[in-house]
Symmetry: C2
Subunit: 353 residues, 2 copies
């Protein structure tokens, strides 16, 4: 059995759970490498993946004997089969943050389980700490993102639309990686005041401000980076905002390490912004892995302590509605006494001439 | 108030619900046009959208006074505010097929609701019947898909990879529509035996079989079309399978109309496939709208009766593991006495020379 499935079995044992239903496809991929719709059952005796005809061939190609996972086509399973899976199991875990209320009721009924037990993001918490392979994948995704950014800064010319630039980034990622890890944001001029702007047909002006939020995937693992940069020149009224964001982003890079308290760090940024009459309107950062947004959250509303080998973003931003916005973001690897920014693109004023 | 919100209020009244929490962003978009993370509350007195700082500006730009929707930033809301929203409400509806078990418990607690009531896909059922504007959008998406298919058939040459072809389709959709409605499938040779194949670096051969499953979005509304076609010539061993799939696809087009029983129709295809020792391993079709897969399902496991102005797919397929597959799919508008295929690309042997 692979290391991660073995870990899960040990966890269940320690929680007095006799089985678990894993429904979140990202968790299933994390545990088994399977990329298909279906449900993973960890029963007393077996690991079982229930899928359907569309995926059977693919799943068989992914798994090896070593995985010790039995694959069933849902069409071949009777009500009795379902009831047998967790026979004599008192407590069976499930993912209460993924499974819908309706599915929860269906599971109870279908598997005849008396006690479906919340597992409190057990898998998501484990996924926070990356192993060597996972870090390697994220590093590669970050390297490609740096190269893509260098490419795109040279590519952008006044007159191009945001959509066109976003498309060029997507093409780059499609060519050199597994595509984007989220919808690329290219927000120029007043659009940059929207943190989650969708690229429009707005044309880049001769003097302009551009925020690009971009990331790609390598073996399923994501990168995430944002830079705000300029065309022609840096308007004087933007400078204080840019420098305030940059100062805080760099301060956070200094502060992030094993045992950092994320709430404290986010609070410091928020306080500094408030001192200057701005607000930190979104979280300071988030975990990155198989999901582009995963645990932990780095924000003022939740208390988290960082651990070695977590990968998180550091992305303070200030947005002035209808005018402009500045966000600077790196993907960061947490080490024992410090952290390492895995995205390394320059942050001092980049000006496209 | 807009027509759809008014409809929802009437529904709630008839179900003796004094309010509803709408969480599914697709349902929120359907009802309000809002495209942002957040929660829509229908209370006794008001329509409320709770979002966060990232989206406030955008939501205000989307809504007009006519919408009668009050927008709140979640950061400004206290526990008291939340409890006031549904004060004196006995029964409040929620989307049990979207809301997670954990969220369900959170809603109960946050809004102090005694009775959260399952609404049995009320919104999804309403979304099945398209209005004029919705049909217009889907028609446009289908037209663009036909044009894209014509373009791509002329574009494909032996030596190109599946990925390259998929990318070309995506580029086309990005240029002429709002992008793809799902991950484009380009599956050639033995890969075509996987119904949900992911495009690979396999190169198109001089004699080859290619299945392309493609669709785009117009104003959020999807199209969906599949064709299996050939390079060089049609291998003799493929012909009986192709003709069996095509015969059934055309028969289904003859049978689909208001009051069709979808289970019966799927059963007929399944029976005909079985007569020839094949299987219908996936559903015969599904609804299409703001979601690429929505209600109703057309399959042998569920009973559905079609209604005028539903839009569904008709997509029989046969897959021979490790060898090849054939699928032919149209997006279809249901009329009173017949149906109309909105995707109109040719189905008789297409051969690229």
């Amino acid at each position: 059995m692979n290391r991660k499935m073995q870990w899960l079995r040990n966890q269940l044992l320690s929680l007095d759970l006799q089985g678990m239903i894993v429904s979140n496809p990202v968790n299933i991929r994390y545990l088994t490498n399977i990329r298909a719709e279906g449900t993973l059952l960890v029963t007393r005796k077996e690991n079982i993946f229930i899928t359907d005809g569309r995926y059977i061939e693919d799943v068989h190609n992914t798994l090896t004997l070593f995985d010790e996972i039995v694959v069933y086509d849902a069409r071949g399973l009777s009500q009795d089969d379902y009831e047998n899976f967790f026979m004599f199991c008192e407590n069976v875990g499930f993912e209460e943050n993924y499974v819908t209320y309706a599915k929860y009721k269906e599971y109870m009924h279908r598997y005849k389980i008396n006690n479906l037990v919340e597992t409190e993001n057990m898998l998501e918490k484990q996924r926070m700490i990356k192993d060597e392979d996972e870090i390697e994948n994220i590093k590669k995704a970050c390297e490609i993102t740096d190269k893509c950014f260098e490419y795109i800064v040279n590519y952008i010319k006044p007159g191009m639309t945001e959509k066109q630039i976003a498309r060029e980034i997507d093409d780059y990622y499609y060519k050199y990686a597994e595509g984007t890890s989220f919808d690329t944001i290219v927000a120029s001029g007043e659009n940059s005041s929207k943190p989650h702007a969708i690229p429009t047909n707005r044309k880049i002006q001769n003097v302009d401000i551009i925020t690009i939020d971009m990331g790609c995937k390598v073996n399923g693992y994501c990168s995430d980076m944002t830079r705000t940069f300029f065309v022609g020149k840096v308007p004087e009224y933007v400078k204080p905002v840019y420098e305030l964001v940059l100062k805080n982003q760099e301060q956070v890079l200094n502060d992030l390490r094993e045992n950092s308290n994320t709430k404290q760090i986010a609070k410091m940024v928020d306080n500094d912004f408030r001192l200057h009459n701005y607000d930190l309107i979104h979280a300071l950062g988030h975990g990155v892995g198989l999901d582009i947004h995963e645990a932990p959250v780095l924000g003022v509303y939740s208390e988290n302590t960082l651990k070695e080998n977590m990968v998180v973003t550091n992305e303070p931003g200030i947005y002035i509605a209808g005018q402009f916005g500045v966000r600077i973001e790196d993907t960061v690897l947490i080490n024992k006494g410090s952290c390492e920014a895995l995205t390394k693109s320059p942050k001092k004023y980049i000006i496209i001439k």
